[in-house]
């Protein structure tokens, strides 16, 4: 008799454990409208808010006068672990006739960037920041090589 009792107990225990699991998935099926966790991504693009610290790509901050704070010191280029940043400098003449190093072109290789944030940390004048843009796919690889300083932009006065 003990054998049969064990046998039936085993069967009932198994059925109970399976029913518990089915109850859970059944509950989620019924409460689906409330419980669903996915988002309709391309549709909610307008309302999609990314945290301010999200590392999408490096941008050079320009103000309304088309001025930036980059002195061309190449600290970011040195800090970058994989050579995504290439700073080309030029020499400007200051009003008192001295030569001064300044930014000519800020080349940024988005295809090599790993978003490690080390360049932002290294920048002494906070000229660059991480932007929240994350839709980076392009059809031509060369489009990923970006020049960050806008045409005609110059360094803001007073930034050393």
């Amino acid at each position: 008799m003990g054998f049969i009792k064990n046998y039936l107990g085993e069967v009932l225990g198994a059925v109970k454990s399976l029913a518990t699991g089915m109850k859970l998935t059944g509950k989620y099926a019924l409460k689906h409208r409330k419980e669903k966790i996915t988002q309709l991504y391309p549709d909610n693009r307008d309302t999609l808010l990314l945290p301010e610290r999200f590392r999408g790509e490096v941008v050079l901050i320009h103000d309304e006068n088309n001025e930036h704070a980059c002195t061309g010191c190449t600290a970011c280029e040195i800090a970058c672990p994989n050579g995504s940043i290439k700073i080309i400098t030029k020499f400007d003449l200051t009003p008192d006739g001295k030569k001064k190093k300044a930014l000519d072109t800020f080349v940024y290789h988005l295809d090599m960037c790993t978003m490690c944030n080390l360049c932002i940390e290294a920048c002494p004048t906070d000229a660059i920041k991480m932007d929240q843009a994350f839709e980076h796919s392009v059809t031509n690889r060369n489009d990923l090589i970006k020049i960050l300083n806008k045409p005609g932009s110059k360094i803001r006065d007073g930034v050393e």
Binding site: L18, G21, L24, Y28, A29, H32, K36, I37
Partner: protein, 355 residues
């Protein structure tokens, strides 16, 4: 439904000579069967994806058409235009034959099913036996596919499938027998008529309940559905017996799986839940008359789709069994229980204790 089919039949025999009329009927039935096959595939695959989505807190298909209802149509179109590749080193004849065998078997077992009152392709007097006998042929197609693919994963999957289908047929058959014993007939129309005053699940006492549970488990295993999907176990054998198949040949396996589910669920609905028979209690009550207003096809498809939902529910809840546990479950638990259950059912049938 009975009137429409009878009218067509009479009109055909009145207009043409009997041979041509018969051929035309064959053609109509063939077209209907193929149409049903395709429709079932589309509907059930969509249903499966939606059921899995609601259980997994997702949305499921929602891009093609409203609520994504044309998603499976788009998928099928894509599979049809895809190249039907035959890999090097396969046994070409068997490889190409296997999906058709599986599909033909799935279609043949549609024949004795009663879809609505008086709407049946072939009211054969051994209907239940026919379904169980023919549906077991699909294992030949699966074994063929696994062997011919010349792929070790496929072979393992096919071997698992062979062992599994052959053993689970026993308990599926024995649980069906419990109802047959109570009804006294193998003819599906008679089984349904016998449930006029209540479905077997209500008036059959304990043996029918046990038989019903065993039947659901056994047919889940027979159709290679999770948690018994060892034949394709994607985390172990990538895709099991259809690893090497692509395009429409793969789609035929896929469709056949869903049609098989439909067939076994329709059989379960017929045997235990009264087929197209509305929900009746006793005879001649007001309640029965209200229930009769709902068309019989709605009853049949409602019950069948409920059972299909239950089988899908299993799939999206449970982990997969191991092959030895699978056979243990059959030979140590389901088979002894269903044998004792059959004795019990026979006893009840002899003593006339059922309602």
């Amino acid at each position: 439904m009975q009137n429409i089919t009878d009218n067509i039949h009479d009109w055909l025999y009145a207009t043409f000579n009997p041979t041509i009329a018969m051929l035309i009927e064959f053609a109509i039935i063939g077209a209907l069967a193929i149409g049903l096959f395709a429709m079932l595939g589309l509907v059930l695959i969509y249903m499966e994806r939606k059921v899995s989505a609601v259980m997994q807190l997702r949305l499921g298909p929602n891009r093609v058409g409203p609520k994504g209802i044309f998603q499976t149509t788009a998928d099928t179109l894509k599979l049809i235009v895809k190249e039907g590749m035959t890999p090097n080193g396969v046994d070409k004849l068997l490889f190409n034959l296997a999906p058709f065998i599986v599909m033909i078997v799935a279609m043949v077992v549609l024949a004795p099913l009663m879809f609505a009152k008086g709407f049946q392709i072939w009211d054969i007097n051994i209907g239940v036996f026919f379904i169980t006998a023919v549906s077991s042929l699909s294992v030949i197609g699966i074994l063929m596919a696994g062997w011919a693919s010349n792929n070790k994963y496929s072979l393992l999957g096919a071997m698992r499938s062979g062992a599994q289908i052959v053993s689970y047929e026993l308990s599926a058959g024995l649980s069906i027998l419990a109802v047959i014993v109570l009804t006294g007939s193998l003819k599906l129309s008679e089984i349904i008529t016998s449930q006029e005053n209540g479905w077997w699940i209500f008036k059959g006492h304990l043996p029918v309940w046990i038989a019903f549970i065993i039947f659901i488990i056994a047919v889940t295993a027979e159709t290679n559905r999770a948690p018994f999907d060892l034949a394709e176990a994607e985390s172990e054998l990538t895709a099991g017996f259809h690893t090497e198949y692509s395009g429409m040949k793969f789609a035929l396996f896929f469709l056949a799986e869903y049609v098989n589910i439909f067939v076994v669920c329709a059989l379960g609905a017929t045997l235990f839940l009264g087929g197209w028979m509305p929900l009746h209690f006793g005879t001649g009550t007001k309640f029965n008359e209200v229930m009769d207003y709902i068309p019989s096809s709605v009853w049949f498809f409602g019950k069948t789709f409920f059972l299909i939902f239950v089988i899908m529910w299993f799939r999206w809840t449970f982990p997969r069994l191991r092959i030895d546990q699978l056979l243990n479950l059959e030979w140590k638990y389901l088979l002894p229980i269903s044998m004792i259950n059959l004795l019990l059912a026979t006893f009840i049938a002899i003593m006339k204790w059922h309602f």
